[in-house]
Amino acid sequence: MESIPVMAIIGAATVVAIYFGRLVKRTGLPSLLGYMILGVVMGTSLLGLLGEGELLSLQFITEIALGYVAFSIGAELNLKALRRLGKGIIFIILAESFAAFILVSAAIYVAFGDLPMAILFGALAPASAPAGTVAVIQEYKARGNLTKALYAVVGFDDGLAVIIFGFSAAMATRMLQAETSVVTGGLLGGIVEPLSEIGMSIGIGALAGIVFSFLARRLKPVSDSPSLIFGFVLMTVGISQWLDISLILTCMLLGMVLANSSSSSAVRNMVGQLRDFMNLLFILFFLLAGAHLKLGALPGLGLLGVIYVLSRTAGLMGGAWLGAVTGRSEEKIRKYLGLGILSQAGVAIGLSLLVQQFCVEIGTGHALEIGAAVITTITATSIIFEIVGPICAKHALTRAGEIHAREDG
């Protein structure tokens, strides 16, 4: 019964969000900021129209929406087209992830002299939030090589981020345990587990993708394709949650197998039908993301947060530049790609909860202190990255000339 007012609230919020988005767009910022602002206003920090209970019961919307985002990333990743962009992409992904890890760890170590804490923050730095970048690309109908490279990078770096996190989190926990001299589990577990997680994600996503594209190719009335996509995205999201593996990777693979096994006109046809709903999904996704933002967390930013924001930004941008130079990517990718991948949100918050859990398990004063610092800092910095990320992505795409003349419809 209590879900009834929620339905009316969501309905009203969707309508109002459209106009908030419009208003924000008029100032030259991406609409999703408008959706998010409305979410903040309605959420726990202000009006409280969407409380913790409601948000929990609506969480499935966020997960399904993220599945769709990942699927639409995958559908853009045509290997033939990617190969034309060259090995640059691989270098970029490696360099931006590791540079973010190294710079953040180094900066925090220099400032606080606490190695386990520095490593844990570094571990969180590479995680990015693809939805912001994808929403901007789709809203402005961006097209070109930078757009393609962005799709590839925000999609794949999720995998690398998981590996880096797994490995370095294991290392940091070991150091913390060593302080109390009860070391359990080897370092090896820290690398094997994330690797097997990624292997499973890719395997399951590819398998689902093969079945899906087989069925999609034979689908008689094309009008059924939104239902087929819906069914497979939900199944893939459900399986990923069940096995606790990355739903971004699995759903991306789902789209990628489709993009690489069917004729490009067929893919465009199917994905074109998706476009109609993507806007609605983005509205719901960012509305809920906004409602989750705890503005109260911002004062907790402190010196630690400022260092994290600055060094992560520098790491991602510097790393992307370095990778692009090494891989001989074209100039606009070299210059602007880093700007497009700054978003950080749900995934990082999820990982920081994990870190806190480790720290509680270790239970020493030092560990508990770190756990608390990670949670408050990442919650606060996510607010910043969720807002700055899409703005910078739009800026990057505009500068690269991949967003064409302001169009209002």
Binding site: S3, I4, P5, V6, M7, A8, I9, I10, G11, A12, A13, T14, V15, A17, I18, R22, S57, Q59, F60, E63, I64, L215, L219, K220, S223, D224, P226, S227, L228, F230, G231, F232, V233, L234, M235, T236, V237, G238, I239, Q241, W242, Q273, R275, D276, F277, N279, L280, I283, D408, G409
Partner: protein, 403 residues
């Protein structure tokens, strides 16, 4: 937490599989929705029992929103100008198909049981139709023509009349029961409520529809139309449900306002919904299927059979009579009633409402409550399957479906 995960997975699997069971149904000449429903029955409580009662309850919001979209679609097909072309037939059809059904069922059940309050309550349930089945068939087969137009109008509006008749008849039945136990209720007061309900539902729908139409006509990007429509459907369904009203009339009034304000915008909205509706139908009928209780068929009995036959005859003769009186074409006279047989959620909802009221009235009341629930649950199962199949037959015979 754990149940949510499996729910997402199961719903995804259901939609993917549903497409193919729907295809199968279609191959044997039945509407796809029968296939979706059968899959639901197999996965649901009368089959593999994959969904717990709690999960099913958490999925009702999908059914509500889906029904809202169906009602909105009906409303957006109801262009007054083209309705006027169909003539006053519509009005006499609406009045007769509902009242004749009420009279037939009441009389038949009275004959069988000899119990007035009992018969009145069954008569009260009978006029309610389930629009989703008919609309799904129309859209699947892309039916077009006078019968199609009339069906949209009738399945839409008769929800209002059904609520009115239910209100009056239930009130009459209650006061009979109350006089048995020595109390008394005012027929008018109990019957006034449904009239108010209809008025408020329609008025709020028209108001929302007015705002919606203004917004659609000024929208600067077509990409926002699905989101806007989704927002208003959720809003109107949510509002109607939160004050305990039928979730059909309000979204229908929203669509109706749109259809009668601007043709261009109506086309734009219809185009944006076209790719969404098949998914809505898969979800809706799949969930309806999971609720089906095949074991309830046992309790169908004489009462259930009487109800099914009397209701079917009532709908078909009532609609035929109404069409004749209103001077509608022979095609309508012959086939319209066949398209109106679906009965499902609304009737079950009414039977639950009755049951909770009637247990107050001693043993007799409790007996009626139990009989109403079991019988309507069992007969709905029959009508949910027969209804769409008959609707398809009617449309084909009328030549409005090209196979």
């Amino acid at each position: 937490m754990d149940f949510q995960l499996t729910t997402v997975l199961l719903v995804g699997a259901a939609v993917s599989l549903g497409l193919y069971t729907g295809r199968l149904a279609r191959r044997v000449g039945l509407p796809s929705l029968i296939g979706y429903m059968l899959l639901g029955a197999v996965m649901g409580s009368s089959g593999l029992d994959l969904f717990s009662a709690e999960v099913l309850r958490s999925l009702t919001f999908i059914t509500d929103i889906a029904l809202g979209f169906v009602a909105f679609t009906i409303g957006s097909e109801l262009n007054l100008r083209s309705l006027r072309k169909l003539g006053r037939g519509i009005t006499s059809i609406l009045i007769l198909e509902t009242t004749v059904t009420f009279l037939f069922v009441t009389a038949a059940v009275l004959l069988v049981t000899g119990d007035w309050p009992f018969a009145l309550i069954f008569g009260a349930m009978a006029p309610a139709t389930a629009p989703a089945g008919t609309v799904a068939v129309i859209q699947e087969y892309r039916a077009r023509g006078n019968l199609t137009q009339t069906l949209y109008a009738v399945v839409g509006f008769d929800d209002g009349i059904a609520v009115l008749i239910f209100g009056f008849a239930a009130a009459a039945s209650e006061s009979l029961l109350a006089s048995e136990t020595g109390g008394s209720t005012h027929i008018l007061r109990t019957a006034g409520e449904p009239a108010l309900e209809i008025l408020v539902s329609i008025a709020s729908g028209l108001l929302l529809g007015f705002i919606y139409t203004r917004l659609v006509s000024r929208i600067s990007s077509k990409d926002d139309v699905p989101a806007l429509t989704f927002g208003f459907v959720c809003l109107s369904v949510g509002l109607a449900l939160s004050i305990g009203f039928s979730p059909i009339l309000t979204p229908m009034a929203v669509g109706f306002t749109l259809a009668n304000t601007s043709r261009k915008e109506t086309g734009m909205v219809a185009a944006s919904l076209r790719s969404l509706m098949p998914l809505v139908f898969v979800l809706f009928f799949f969930i309806a299927g999971t609720h089906l209780r095949l074991d309830s068929l046992h309790s169908l009995g004489l009462l259930g059979l009487t109800y099914i036959i009397a209701r079917s005859l009532g709908k078909i003769t009532g609609a035929g009579l109404g069409a004749r009186l209103g001077g509608a074409s022979p095609v309508l006279r012959k086939y319209l009633g066949m398209g109106l047989l679906s009965q499902a959620g609304v009737a079950i909802g009414l039977s639950l409402a009755t049951a909770s009221h009637f247990t107050r009235f001693g043993e007799h009341g409790a007996g009626i409550a139990a009989a109403v629930i079991t019988t309507v649950t069992a007969t709905s199962l029959v009508f949910e399957i027969i209804g769409p199949v008959m609707a398809k037959t009617a449309l084909r015979k009328a030549g409005e479906i090209q196979d």
